[in-house]
Symmetry: C2
Subunit: 328 residues, 2 copies
């Protein structure tokens, strides 16, 4: 399958859900090799059989790693770590704070250009695959509308908001696309939606003993921005049921583009994801793009890149000849 | 929207359904300009208000056109025309003879390298968008299966086969994906299908007066390769009904990838198209890739390319900055 003879050497920075996903995804690709996981925690405390190294020793690996995958969070870890690491390594990250992407890109662009490194920012599925499909949709059907729906998916931010309420012991929140809205888009009606017309929210809450469930439900449903604008359903369940049925991290969603060509012919493009594990899928996307960054760095590319800058062929272990013969 | 100041100058070679689709698609993009349509027919015979030029005068346009879109057929037109035209122009085509793509690519690669031109071959939706999605699927989820379904779509080859039968005045054939097969794939069962288990064929036939309809139906249903392996339904209708209900050229289909990550988590990616006009949508894809080829040629790229070689950002009239801010 692969035309590379020496494997691409990868480092992982951070070992949360995403880092663990990357660790596993690398094992699914014979042309990739995990060199080490870097952590700010005590290395021996990580529950893994992979090599673990303290993050402050990372520079010892400068000649031993082709690409570092940054698996920290977007709010505090990545903005700080990306500069430290891109100064010395090629990097791939999943920075997903949409509004701050331009500033983040500028910072990484400056650092990588100065240090002759190559960094791909903001990959995964949104930003990432969904962004690519939004671009394809509007470029191919300029006269049309794009819709992005998310879910069914566990939202970390909304789950946290529930858990901060008095009387709440534990809880999770799922975002669900509203099926009738999806159907209107698929029917080519190019509808205009409020936020509440596209998504609904469903919460599973474990209340403290003796807590007023009716009051908790009301506090959730009236919470500004988070829940108030949406149709929100609250279910009270036991801690056991929460563990049993709501420990997975499913997600997914749809990017739809409905447009018109010629004399009013309706054309519809749709991309959908149904994921049993959001972090493992995101990790798999990061790993494929890591292959691309390794190949591009080898060819001499430097600077900051996004998914819009990567020819898709670089994502595959197959050679251009193999791709043309087998996949085109 | 656009950051180009002078429009990209485009020529169209061939004025069948695809050429007409390209002519219209260009009008939907303010950064693109149609310079002329080139034809082997008598120029004044083309039913269009665009400028039409005899194909044998094409060299007079060498400095006036950035990219030529070749809209001929894959069996005889393109293999001949691509070399004539790529010797002098950057080109985009929709060569869709899957088995012969490697040989076609090699020929175009040699011609473009020798003449410092740039040619994108085999774009459209399959080969094209579907190829890109197949590549994304197997690169992101290496442990999994890819499925391509086509339809509901009018098949030109199968319609021709019907029309050649004695007693048949006219007829069309639709290929349909079998819904239960699609559902098995979506359920993550990674099934193995025969051709007949994925698609069925539905024919609408206008019989000559006095022809034996039962015999025609049997000849269709037992035609080797074309129909015999499939569940084939034959409906007899009037010429009027055929014109009224079966003159459009709908098509579409699905690329699905079902894979597994981590400890058995199922992940599902799906891309679907529902097209009221196959040639107009194909034309819209060609036009977006024409923009990419114009930009890449301006940057000095030469040689033969496929959709696997084009960074998606080039497809958009927006600048990289605009794309990062608005679409990522």
């Amino acid at each position: 399958m692969t035309h590379e003879t020496t494997p691409i050497r990868i480092g992982i920075v951070g070992y949360g859900n995403l880092g663990r996903g990357v660790e596993h995804a690398i094992t699914q690709n014979t042309d990739l090799e995990l060199v080490a996981i870097f952590t700010r925690r005590s290395p021996e405390s990580l529950p893994t059989t992979s090599k673990v190294v303290a993050l402050d020793q990372v520079l010892e690996y400068k000649a031993k790693i082709d690409v570092m995958i940054l698996c920290g969070g977007s709010s505090t870890d990545l903005p700080e770590q990306v500069i430290q690491l891109a100064t010395h390594f090629n990097t791939v990250d999943s920075f997903d704070n949409h509004g701050e992407i331009p500033a983040y890109f500028a910072k990484v662009e400056q650092c990588t250009k100065a240090n002759q490194t190559l960094s791909l920012i903001s990959t995964g599925w949104d930003p990432g695959l969904f962004s690519m499909l939004r671009l394809l949709g509007e470029s191919i059907l300029p006269q049309g509308e794009t819709y992005t729906f998310w879910g069914k998916g566990l939202s970390q931010g909304h789950s946290d908001a529930i858990r901060r309420l008095a009387g709440v012991k534990n809880g999770v929140q799922y975002t669900l696309p509203i099926e009738t809205a999806l159907e209107e888009v698929r029917a080519g009606q190019n509808p205009t939606f409020t936020a509440a017309e596209k998504h609904q929210r469903v919460c599973y809450v474990v209340a403290e003993e003796g807590a007023d469930q009716q009051q908790i439900a009301q506090e959730i449903q009236t919470m500004p921005n988070y829940f108030e604008p949406y149709h929100t359903t609250v279910h009270f369940i036991s801690e056991e049921e929460l563990k049993l049925n709501h420990s997975a991290m499913p997600h997914g969603g749809f990017v739809l583009r409905s447009g018109e060509t010629g004399n009013g012919n309706q054309q519809h493009m749709e991309f959908g994801l149904k994921l049993e594990s959001n972090p493992e899928f995101t990790a798999s996307v990061l790993v494929a793009f890591t292959r691309a960054i390794a190949k591009m760095a080898k060819e001499g590319h430097i600077g900051a890149k996004t998914v819009f800058d990567i020819p898709l062929g670089y994502l595959s272990p197959k050679s251009p000849e193999q791709l043309r013969a087998a996949l085109l």
